[in-house]
Structure formats: C-alpha cells, structure tokens
C-alpha cells in the first residue's frame, strides 16, 4: 500500500477566506501549509473543533474552494496543471458527502431524479442502464426501492444521508470525502451508516477522508487520525497509536473530553477550558499555547516543527506531531 501512488495528496496546502470587516477586507487562513496523503482504500479521519479549518480542507480537496498556495495531487498529477479531461476524472473519482442531509437533496426533485443526474453527467443515458445502476446503488445503501419516487421531505435524516451516499456511489468513486456525515443523525442511524462505510471500504476499496469531531466514531472507522487546530495539522498518527498514546496535549485533551465515564462516578472538571482563539489573529508560535496545560517559554515564540515519533515505520505510516515537548527526541 505504501509503494503505490496515493489517490489524493495535498502538499503545503493553504486556503484563505476573505472576511468583509467594516471597510477593509481581512484574510482568514482557514488551512495553513497542510500536507496529507490518502492511499487507496484508506480511511483518514480529520478531527478538530469547529473553526479549525477541517471543512475548508474538505472543500479544497474536491475543488469547491481554491487553494491560495500549495498543490493538490490526484493520482500523482498536480490538479492545477490538469486538462479538462483529467479534471473530470478527478471530479468523478472524488466525491463529497455533506453534513446536513436535509439540504443535500433538491427539495423539488424526486429521489430518482437526484440519482439520475450524476449518471447523465457520466454519459449513462440509456434508461435500462440507468435503472440498473440506480437499483444497485439503492441496494448498496440498504434502502427499499419505493423510496425512489418520494421527495426528500418524506425521508428521515438517515435515509437522506444514505441517498446522498448512493448518489456519490453512482460515480464509482475511489475516494469519498465526508464532512461530518454522522453528526446530525440519531444513534441507530449513525450505527447503520458506520457499518455501511466499513462495508464499502472492504468490498470496493473506496478510500475515505472522514471529517469528524466525535472521536468514538473515528475509532470505529479510521486507519489514521489527523488532528487540526486553527488551520494547522498538529498531529497525524495511525489510529491504534493515536488512541493508545496521543502525543499532542491538544489531542490528549480531545480524547479525554470524549471519553465518557461509563463506569465511574461523574467527572467534575472540564478537560479543555476556554475556546480556540480567532483564526483572524492566530497566536504566535505554537497556535495551541494559549490553552495548553504544558506550555513552556518557547511555545509562544517558535512554531514547532514536525517531529516523527516512532522511527520505525509501521504498516500504517508514521506518528507525527508538531509540539515542542517532543523536540528533544
């Protein structure tokens, strides 16, 4: 898996938003110099609090947001230098799944119309073949076929999310980028979609970039975990290694905050206090130093470099962290 070219790779990617502020326009760096690669059939989870830039990263990966610097490579080819045909391949093979199932489907179109649209774009125009493909996509997401003639408002949130997934599957993608696909759903719908993702990866070797904030969900799915804070990638680790020994103080705090006391008496102190600073004016040095429990002198002056924790490369890649605590290693 390591030798093969990654499906998608971002190198030193930055994404900027322009914020209209009074008379002047300010630039907000939603993603800053981030590098990440996704191998075939791999599930990478990108986690962080809201405003950390994870949704901007997802949108940049499919080309909905332009990169202000850096480059995106699809199957090893730079996206910026692509001709129309290669770009079309990238668009087809990389599908985006949105968070809000209620706005993911056009309210005035029947489900079958929403599903036929990607097929038309792929040039599948014959009725018979469209039928066949739509039927098998519907079966793949375990929905009954009478759902096809309904309108989105007649479906539950989980059903809509599964239709959105079916629509992505019709393009036969190699990579699905899912932006918080489970957070709007009930426990049982969540579980159903989770097992669907696992099945799809196993049977079709589809890779996933899963944008999430619920670490319990992440552990169910992910091969690797990427932690973002204020636009920076501060830790990247194989899932086992992450859940056993997360390195960055922020990752540790996130983990602790999402570990409920299933067995013990109630906890009394929040793990992370305060909120992330504004991304318009990010702190100097390490961006996390304003909330870090283990902050040192160095932290507000020097931006920490990427450190590789375990020298020997495991099957699932390196454990990398950006934190001064590990600089001496």
């Amino acid at each position: 898996m390591n030798q093969a070219t990654p499906i998608l790779e971002v190198r030193d990617l930055s994404v900027q938003h322009t914020v209209a502020g009074g008379t002047s326009h300010e630039h907000l760096e939603a993603v800053r110099q981030l590098s990440l690669s996704v191998a075939a059939g791999e599930i990478i989870a990108v986690v962080g609090e809201s405003g950390c830039g994870k949704s901007s990263l997802a949108r940049a990966m499919v080309g909905l947001l332009p990169a202000s610097s850096g480059e995106i490579y699809f199957r090893g080819a730079a996206v910026s230098g692509m001709d129309a045909r290669a770009r079309k391949d990238w668009r087809r093979d990389t599908q985006l799944l949105f968070q809000d199932p209620h706005s993911a489907l056009s309210p005035r179109r029947r489900i079958v119309q929403s599903l036929a649209e990607p097929l038309e774009m792929l040039g599948v125009k014959a009725d018979g073949e469209q039928q066949q493909r739509i039927l098998s996509a519907i079966a793949e997401v375990n929905l009954p076929i009478d759902i096809l003639q309904r309108y989105p408002h007649q479906l539950s949130g989980g059903q809509k999310q599964r239709i959105a997934l079916a629509r992505a599957l019709l393009c036969q993608p190699r990579l699905i980028i899912a932006d918080e696909p489970l957070s709007a759903l009930d426990v049982s719908e969540q579980a159903r979609l989770l097992s669907l993702f696992i099945e799809l990866r196993k049977e079709k070797q589809i890779a996933f970039v899963l944008i999430a904030h619920d670490l319990a969900v992440v552990q169910q799915l992910a091969d690797r975990v990427a932690v973002m804070y204020l636009g920076r990638l501060i830790e990247l680790a194989p899932a086992d290694s992450f859940f056993q020994s997360a390195a960055h103080p922020y990752s540790q705090a996130l983990l602790q905050a999402s570990q409920s006391n299933w067995h013990n008496t109630p906890a009394n102190e929040p793990v992370l206090t305060g909120e992330p600073p504004s991304a318009l004016t990010p702190p100097s040095g390490c961006v996390f130093h304003t909330r870090c429990a283990q902050v040192m002198d160095l932290c507000n002056r020097v931006v920490p470099e990427q450190q590789v924790l375990n020298q020997s490369e495991t099957a699932r890649g390196l454990h990398q962290v950006q934190c001064h605590l590990y600089s001496s290693q």
Binding site: E49, S50, D186, V187, S188, Q190, A191, R192, L194, S195, I198, H213, D214, L215, A216, V217, Q219, Q220, D240, F243, Q244, A253, L254, L255, A257, S258, Q259, S260, N261, W262, H263, N264, P266, A267, N268, E269, P270, V271, L272, T273, E275
Partner: protein, 340 residues
C-alpha cells in the same frame, strides 16, 4: 423504589414529581395518545437523563413539564407536584405557569441562538428575567446576573453582559443561556439536548457546568438527550423512553452498563465507545421507530426486538421495580442485567 445506601441521594427532598403524564394531540384529524403515562421524580441536586431516539416523545415530556405546548391542540393529563404543591397540568392557566417558569422551573434548549432574543444584550435579557421573579432594584438584578455568569465560568462578565447573542460563540451562548436559567436559583432545570449543537470541548464544559449546578445549588436537572455518552458522564439516574413510554429506569451506570431492557442494550451496542485497544464494532438496531401516535396492543419495541414472543405483541408490559437497586424495567422478557 427504596433509596439504596449505595447511591449518593438518600435523603434529598423530591422537588418535582410527575404522576401518569398523558399527552394527546390531534394527528390527521384523530385525537391520539402521544405520551402514554409517565412517572418521574426529580430530587434536589439530582441529575436525571431522559434518553431515546428522536420521535420517542422525550422533548414533548420536557415541554409538558413547563406548559410549553400548544394549549388548544395538546391536552395533558397528569398530576404534578412542584415543591410539594399540587399543580394540575391540565388546568393550569398561562398566569400560573408564568409564576412557576423562571422562578422554580427553568429550561434550556439545543440552539441558544434561537432561544435568545437577538435585539437585546445578554445583560438586558437577564435583568428582565431576574426582576420579574426577584424583588429588588435594577442594580441588585445586575449583581445577581454577574454572579450567575461568573458561576457559569464566563470570566469577563462585564463584556458578556454588554454583548448581543450573535457576538458570542456557540459554547458561550449556551453558557449565557444556562446562567440566565440559573440566575433565579430555580429548583428544577430542564435541559433539552443542550450539547447536541456543540463541539466536544464545549460539550464537555457544558456538561460539567450542569453537574456543578446540581452539586452546588442543589438544582434538580432533567437532561433530555439522545447522547448516551453525555448522560453516562453526568447523570445519577437514567430513564430510557420509547414511543411515549418509559422502558427502563435506574442508576445511570447500571442501566447503561447492565441493561435489562433489550432496547437499552441495543442502544448501547449502537453507540460507539472509545477504548485504548480496538473497540467493539457498533451494531445498528434493526427496523425503524414507529410513529409516536400509533397505539399498539403490545410492546412498541416488539417488532424490532430479538427477544420478542407472541406475548409481547399482545400485552403491554408494565414498568416494574426489578431487583431492589432502584431499577425498574417494562419488559416481558428482561435481560438478567448483570452482563457488562
């Protein structure tokens, strides 16, 4: 339900008790039973979690407790005792409710953005609420508001008081909302999905805050949530609702870790939990939730239940005290409740 010494709430007074809550509403022209008889006791300083999937009637129950239902449409039959005074939910008029709300009963919602008025500052809104219920001048109300905000971990109180809701982040708005709800020191706080719209770190902070309110001010809190992890984290007791009925209740850790009702067990298996090693894979629950207004002759969960027998679809199981641990379960074929 004898209080057991094993739990930390032996002699606390009951501040709110609900007997046989029934709620009917017209659905497609017919009057239907949505909430089909719920008993609930809240003791001072106790946090009770009301859990279930969407559409099980948990939010309706919370709203009924505060009289927040469209009155000509919904009719509520229940006996409620607030601080020992009998309050007839069906008969209470808007004036009686207004006296109770804010002062004795308070509520916080999932989305504080919509619960706070966008054209007034947090300070103006808090002072108005406080002055309605607590005697004293404006300055006194402002002092109480400041104290309440500080209590809720909002350090920069002067700035928060002068802020409009949109100037605060989601987590801060929810804190301000809680500060407002707690400012009159109500005996009962009903929190309807207070953390569902928040990040993990904010969620953690809000849950801790609610727990502190219960511990320090002896507030009884009903936490309505579909998030089992949140309930497990802070609640003393948990009630599992399904289709307008309570299926299981008892101390949180026992109900969730050693469920007796198959539905509770299924919910737990569908909830992902973090562990240091590879976690157990989640198991989706089979089938779908039936519409709340359907009245079935038997157990509403029977169609989805792996343990269901013929009896289950014929007779509705009663909620019975099971084994003296403060637990009760409504099931014809309960699990032993000792499996972890």
């Amino acid at each position: 339900m004898n209080p057991q010494p094993a739990h930390n709430f032996p002699a606390k007074p009951t501040v709110l008790s609900l007997r046989q809550l029934h709620l009917t509403m017209p659905v497609a022209g017919q009057v239907r039973d949505l909430i089909k008889g719920i008993d609930l006791d809240l003791r001072a300083g106790e946090m009770v979690g009301l859990v279930g999937e969407s559409g099980c009637g948990k939010s309706l129950t919370g709203n009924a407790l505060l009289g927040l239902l469209p009155s000509p449409l919904a009719s509520v039959h229940s006996q409620v005792f607030v601080l020992g005074d009998k309050q007839d939910l069906a008969a209470a008029d808007e004036k009686a409710w207004r006296k109770l709300r804010g002062r004795h009963l308070a509520m916080i919602f999932q989305e504080p953005q919509t619960a706070l008025d966008p054209v007034f500052t947090i300070g103006q809104q808090m002072v108005r609420v406080i002055r309605r219920h607590v005697p004293g001048n404006r300055q006194h109300a402002l002092d109480l508001a400041t104290a309440s905000l500080a209590d809720c971990g909002l350090g920069d109180t002067a700035r928060i008081l002068a802020s409009y809701p949109h100037q605060l982040s989601g987590g801060m708005r929810q804190r301000a909302m809680i500060a407002m709800a707690l400012s009159c020191k109500p005996e009962v706080l009903i929190a309807d999905e207070p953390t569902s719209a928040l990040d993990i770190s904010s969620r953690d902070q809000i849950l801790t805050l609610l727990r502190q309110a219960a511990d320090r001010h002896n507030t009884a809190i009903l936490l309505i949530s579909h998030d089992l992890a949140a309930v497990a984290r802070v609640c003393d007791r948990a009630l599992v609702m399904y289709s307008g009925r309570v299926l299981e209740s008892g101390p949180t850790a026992r109900v969730l870790n050693q469920p007796q009702h198959p539905y509770t067990a299924a919910l737990m298996q569908a909830t992902p939990r973090i562990s240091k090693s590879r976690p157990l894979a989640v198991q989706p629950i089979q089938g779908r939730v039936e519409a709340l207004h359907l009245t079935l002759p038997g157990c509403a969960y029977a169609a989805r239940c792996p343990r269901a027998t013929e009896l289950c679809s014929q007779r509705i199981p009663e909620l019975k005290v099971s084994n003296g641990n403060g637990r009760a379960v409504a099931c014809h074929h309960p699990l032993p409740g000792a499996v972890s």
